[in-house]
């Protein structure tokens, strides 16, 4: 149970928005281990518990592996759970992520994207969350703190949907969102309670009705279960589109489904972005449009499930597509680039990969401008480059 909270506008960090989202969604069990730059989420949630705003069970654990284990057990017992992590913490949790997804437990875990060592860094890179691609978790990125709060609430709605029942990690950029304050509008606790309803587990651990969960299974059984997970992820696309539409009607903030198009209608070229770079890229699109360049932007919100169908439609009407990545799959390319190429198999337009902001380096307006410049060249057939490193000393883009 949580205290009655009114609708209000606050000037808060992304971490606070994440914690507030989990609290107001009625998370009953929280198990988390602090790691920079996720620490504020744990502190803020602990404060909500301490101040009696929520009576959620806050479990102190000795590691992220244990945090996820505790959440799995609590969720399996029928509780709505919440946790959060970052970087090495997520890496340590890796083993348990598979179990949460395969047991079909709709756990919500904000991940503050931070580079994974070595070297040790605390700034933004997606090499923590993106390698979790195949664990069976849904994964999405936020552009601002409003989206963080809204997305945590929506995460419960999507994850707990009967056709989905998968855990989800809404991601936010280290420091650029986690430690940055900006105005955020929060709904009231009554509105959220009515919107989400109570979590009704399909199966739960119950001493009255004993049940075995996560038992030994020989090859006769596992393939069907994997098919379930794959179809649940495919179903999630439809559910995400429905939930974002419904959320826009209920709360007035429209996130347009798995992707958001910005000035794409008559665009010659589009750049696919993720996370906070999107905000900066919007500014660049507006400036280039004023100079008569027909450029557009696709904000990719979901990395899993991947918005294949949406991107195919866009590919039909533009001359070149660029994909911005803040991580590298060594020996292949940026993770989003690989996905986009796969989704657009059969389309003959140039698809380029731009790697920038790795390790948290600032992605400037001039960097994004360079991406559009190269895309316009690619459309004219003036370049056939595929993987382009922007702002890397000693490497020509």
């Amino acid at each position: 149970m949580i205290q009655k909270l009114e609708r209000k506008k606050m000037v808060i960090t992304g971490d606070y928005a994440a914690a507030y989202g989990g609290m107001i969604s009625g998370a009953e069990v929280v198990a988390a281990y602090p790691i920079t730059p996720q620490t504020l989420i744990v502190e803020d949630f602990a404060t909500f518990v301490n101040d009696g705003i929520t009576d959620a069970e806050f479990i102190m654990v000795e590691s992220e592996h244990s945090a996820m284990s505790a959440c799995i057990a609590a969720q399996a017992a029928g509780a709505r759970t919440f946790t959060a992590t970052s970087s090495q913490g997520l890496a340590l949790m890796h083993e348990m992520l598979f179990i949460a997804a395969s047991l079909r437990l709709p756990i919500v875990m904000p991940v503050v994207n931070r580079t994974v060592a070595a070297p040790i860094g605390i700034w933004c890179e997606y090499n923590d969350s993106m390698p979790q691609r195949d664990t069976g978790w849904m994964q999405m990125s936020c552009e601002d703190n409003q989206e963080v709060l809204d997305m945590v609430i929506m995460s419960y709605k999507i994850a707990e949907h009967r056709d989905v029942l998968l855990p989800i990690m809404p991601c936010l950029d280290a420091f650029i969102l986690s430690h940055t304050v900006e105005p955020v509008e929060a709904p009231s606790s009554d509105e959220v309670a009515q919107y989400l309803g109570k979590y009704e587990p399909v199966a739960k651990l119950d001493t009255e009705n004993p049940m075995a969960i996560g038992t030994f299974a020989p090859p006769e059984y596992i393939q069907e279960l994997r098919y379930h997970n794959h179809m649940a992820m495919e179903n999630a696309k439809r559910v995400i589109r429905e939930v974002t539409r419904d959320f826009a009607r209920t709360f007035g903030h429209d996130y347009h489904g798995l992707i958001e198009e910005y000035r794409c209608d008559d665009a010659d070229v589009v750049l696919i972005t993720i996370g906070t770079v999107t905000g900066t890229a919007r500014e660049v699109v507006d400036e280039l449009r004023e100079r008569g360049k027909k450029v557009g932007l696709v904000k990719l919100r979901f990395y899993r499930p991947f918005p294949r169908e949406e991107l195919q439609k866009i590919a039909e009407r533009v001359g070149a597509i660029g994909v911005y990545d803040r991580a590298v799959s060594f020996g292949s390319g940026g993770p989003m680039f690989i996905e986009t190429r796969h989704a657009l198999y059969g389309h003959s337009i140039p698809i380029m990969n731009f790697l920038a902001g790795i390790g948290g380096r600032d992605v400037m307006k001039k960097d994004v401008e360079k991406m559009f410049e190269m895309l316009l060249e690619a459309k004219e057939g003036k370049t056939s480059k595929e993987i382009v490193w922007i702002g890397t000393r000693g490497v020509t883009p």
């Binding site: 420091f175 430690h179 304050v181 906070t276 900066t280 600032d362 307006k365 000393r393």
Partner: protein
């Protein structure tokens, strides 16, 4: 849109000041964003924080490179770095100092506002925490927000954390600073040697980032490079060792996190080039031979 850069030292509350200012601007119906620069800072180390204000949603997510206003919470910072770096033409600098604007020497003459925020903080709060007082000076020098909004923001932000009474005191400090702020023009001509940074390209970057001791254009890098990074100016309190009382037990030597205490003729001695003034030595000394006092800086 306008942008503000706050210069302070770790622990002085520059980040809180930047956030409280954002809240004040928000209370007047603006959109405001504030964020700290996160480096490897510690208490006493020079730190920066930023605020952006606009009448519409702010989408840009880069750091601030060309601020309209620069706020300096700690006067010693204007001696060691060019706080005007990137400041827009016609920009204003707001400095916590007892001096008049005309007595402040910077890299160039600029619109300058000064206030004795430390004095006000000591008088009103009883502690040299200047992050609320300086906001009053910022409001006065720029006219961008009303002092009433600054007071309300301080009450909300500090009141929630430290209690109502403390919130009111901090708001009073801001009001006093607002009333005492002097606006004028600084002197120019102070020269700063820009500190070069070691930025190897992909060919020069050592494999795996493994480095021994390397001499670069930016000084030493790697093993032992800290000897060039003198951290003595981070200090607020300074330890003094009473050689008569020192029993040579080496507790201070053992506990010093900086390793800046050595034993000379059986007695402890502090290397003030590196001592950050944490006070652990004084706390651990069984002979009570070490006293921490507030350091008066030139």
């Amino acid at each position: 849109m306008y942008e503000i850069r706050f210069h302070g030292r770790g622990g002085q509350g520059g980040k809180m000041a930047a956030e409280a200012y954002a809240l004040a601007a928000f209370l007047e119906g603006n959109y405001a964003v504030s964020f700290p620069f996160f480096g490897a800072e510690r208490r006493g180390a020079p730190v920066k924080a930023f605020t952006r204000v606009d009448d519409k949603k702010i989408r840009i997510k880069t750091q601030v490179y060309e601020p309209d206003y620069v706020v300096v919470l700690d006067e010693t910072l204007i001696e060691t770095q060019d706080v005007l770096e990137g400041l827009k033409k016609d920009g204003t600098v707001i400095i916590n100092t007892q001096r008049k604007p005309e007595e402040v020497r910077l890299s160039k003459p600029v619109k300058c506002a000064t206030v004795d925020a430390t004095g006000i903080a000591l008088e009103v709060l009883g502690r040299p925490i200047t992050n609320t007082a300086i906001l009053g000076a910022l409001a006065r020098a720029t006219g961008r927000v009303k002092i009433e909004s600054v007071e309300q923001a301080i009450m909300e932000k500090f009141g929630a954390r430290l209690g109502r009474e403390s919130g009111e005191k901090n708001a009073r400090a801001a009001r006093m600073a607002y009333e005492q702020t002097l606006v004028g023009t600084s002197q120019g001509g102070k020269e700063f040697v820009p500190r070069p940074q070691w930025l190897p390209d992909v060919h020069e970057m050592p494999i795996g980032g493994a480095i021994g001791t390397m001499k670069t254009e930016a000084g030493l890098i790697g093993i032992g490079s800290f000897v060039e990074n003198k951290t003595g100016d981070w200090r607020t309190f300074i330890p003094a060792i009473d050689k008569e009382k020192c029993i040579g037990c080496r507790f201070c030597w053992f506990y010093c996190p900086e390793g800046c205490i050595s034993m000379v003729e059986g007695k402890a001695e502090v290397n003030y080039d590196y001592c950050k003034g944490c006070g652990i030595c004084a706390h651990e000394c069984p002979a009570k031979a070490i006293e921490m006092t507030r350091e008066v800086k030139a």
